[in-house]
């Protein structure tokens, strides 16, 4: 009896010491970017009982991968609603996996939206276009939520910029997002060029785009790529840049 009481006292005494230490460790992990995604009833309904239990027991990454593979199979079978559902689950479980956000947006924006526009079962063009826009909005939503969860990673800003450029034909927003990507740590060198290219298509912002492209051009031969030179020449014409200030022919 004495032993049992000693052990219980030790266990609860240790509990009182460890609770604040655990709390401090959890804060340190949170501050270092190791926060865990919330597990609530919504996720429970999405995952099913087995998936939810697996996620609770520390295997959320593996569960998310299984969902990702299922989404891949659903994509091969062109089951778009299922692709959407599975990617929502995977991104909820692993909000820091850029790949899931990016792939979800790509499937919605480039595959499902095109399939909706060419849907042979829908004779009305207006409804096909509406469905396409809904899928594009879903792609945008995935990328925006991905950015909220990973604000310091350039990849999702790039994907959002490409979505604006290629699907919405919105060069202003594309330029903004390429510029945001370029400002993130570890961004590839082409992001700042792409931001300037997109800006060069925006009505009324030609001067700003010209200054940026010229600045890049003046940085040296490494930046003098064919697209940069051709956009600079277009802007030189448009802005009536004096011949002496124009770049030389390449």
């Amino acid at each position: 009896m004495k032993t049992i009481l000693s052990v219980l006292a030790g266990l609860f005494g240790f509990g009182l010491i460890k609770a604040p230490l655990e709390q401090r460790l959890a804060s340190a992990e949170h501050n270092s970017g190791f926060s865990v995604a919330a597990m609530n009833l919504g996720v429970r309904e999405q995952l099913g009982q087995e998936g939810f239990v697996a996620a609770l027991s520390g295997f959320r990454a593996v569960v998310a991968d299984v969902l990702f593979i299922q989404a891949h199979v659903a994509w091969e079978n062109t089951e778009w609603s299922r692709v959407l559902l599975l990617f929502r689950q995977a991104t909820t479980l692993q909000p820091h996996a850029l790949l899931f956000w990016d792939m979800a947006a790509w499937h919605m924006g480039w595959n499902a939206s095109v399939a909706a526009l060419k849907d042979p079962n829908q004779p009305r063009t207006a409804l096909r276009v509406k469905a396409q826009r809904e899928y594009l909005a879903l792609a945008k939503d995935f990328l925006e939520r991905g950015i909220q969860n990973n604000p310091n990673k350039p990849q999702l800003y790039e994907s959002l910029a490409r979505l604006y450029k290629e699907k919405y034909n919105d060069h202003r927003r594309a330029a903004e997002n390429f510029a945001k990507a370029a400002a993130q740590p570890g961004a590839p060198s082409y992001d700042k060029r792409f931001a300037a290219y997109e800006l060069s298509y925006c009505e009324g912002r030609e001067r700003e785009a010209y200054d940026e492209l010229r600045r890049l051009y003046d940085m040296g031969p490494k930046e003098r790529l064919p697209t940069l030179i051709s956009r600079l020449k277009v802007l030189e014409e448009k802005l009536n840049i004096p011949p002496g200030d124009r770049i030389q022919d390449h």
């Binding site: 004495k2 032993t3 049992i4 000693s6 052990v7 030790g10 266990l11 609860f12 240790f14 509990g15 009182l16 460890k18 609770a19 230490l21 655990e22 709390q23 401090r24 460790l25 959890a26 340190a28 992990e29 270092s32 970017g33 190791f34 865990v36 239990v53 609770l56 027991s57 520390g58 295997f59 959320r60 990454a61 593996v62 998310a64 991968d65 990702f68 593979i69 891949h72 692993q94 820091h96 996996a97 850029l98 790949l99 792939m103 990673k153 590839p188 060198s189 490494k222």
Partner: protein, 268 residues
């Protein structure tokens, strides 16, 4: 021999997985390969820690080995600590073998992808080729994985110490393993219970009492579950790793001390 089966299964998962995953892009393939391998390492070493430790004391009692050991001038605390050290070493060897297998498979896949990328981009500008190769390297084998594997090891050591503590007063292996499975699940939710207990003052007193019980009695195993984020690119800084290691040492020391106290009072 049983450890060998765990390793064999791990190897099969790893190699089978890498063959199956070759149909995905290299980022997808590497991420899933790392998730599955680290998840398998985590589950296998946790299972091994629980199952191998649960049978130590009951087995010695059943075989009557314990009487011949304790008949010699071996204090009970030395017996308990010696048993735990044996399991901790076994877990270390198992995890090292798994890590080597994992590194070999991931390295081989990374080299294959690098070779393929270099071949495909043969005529591309050097800068683009370098960026593409760098992208493959950052998705593949990185040094960030080593502290993540070390944290898995710390968690299994905690589980071993806790299992040893439970087995000092348990009457059967099954009871110890059953209790440990519950502790494993509750341990991953302990952080949520603790958060709620410490910060949610408006809750019913019975709920708060229950949450306090969970927070005080169970270890926070979720604090040792960082591999998910490491696979997605996060790095465990040295300061954070030392805090985690310090917490693990505290858990192991206290649970071992409690096991010693419980075992010292046990009638054999």
């Amino acid at each position: 021999m049983k450890v060998f089966y765990f390793l064999l299964l791990f190897g099969l998962i790893l190699i089978g997985g890498s063959v199956f995953l070759a149909r995905f892009s290299f980022q997808q393939e590497f991420q899933i390969l790392k998730d599955v391998s680290l998840g398998a390492m985590s589950i296998f070493t946790s299972l091994l820690a629980i199952v191998a430790t649960a049978r130590l004391i009951p087995q010695d009692i059943e075989d009557r080995t314990i009487y011949s050991i304790l008949a010699k001038p071996v204090p009970r605390f030395e017996y308990v600590i010696g048993r735990l050290i044996g399991v901790i070493l076994l877990l270390a060897i198992t995890l090292v073998v798994m890590t080597v297998l994992f590194v070999v498979v991931l390295y081989a896949r990374e080299q294959a992808v690098l070779h393929e990328t270099a071949r495909q981009m043969n005529s591309a500008p050097v800068e683009q080729l370098q960026q593409a190769l760098q992208s493959v390297r950052t998705s593949g084998l990185t040094s960030n994985l080593i502290p993540a594997i070390a944290v898995i090891y710390l968690r299994t050591c905690i589980l071993a110490a806790l299992t040893l503590f439970i087995s000092t007063f348990a009457t059967t292996n099954i009871f110890t393993i059953g209790v440990m499975v519950f502790i494993y699940f509750i341990g991953h939710l302990q952080g949520t219970a603790r958060e709620y207990w410490l910060h949610e003052h408006g809750a019913d007193w019975a709920i708060r009492l229950f949450l306090a019980f969970v927070a005080l009695v169970f270890p926070d195993l979720q604090a040792f579950n960082l591999v998910d984020q490491v696979v997605t690119g996060a790095a465990i800084q040295m300061a954070l790793f030392l805090k985690i290691a310090g917490m693990a040492v505290l858990y192991i020391t206290v649970y071992t001390a409690l096991a010693v106290v419980a075992f010292s009072g046990k009638e054999l």
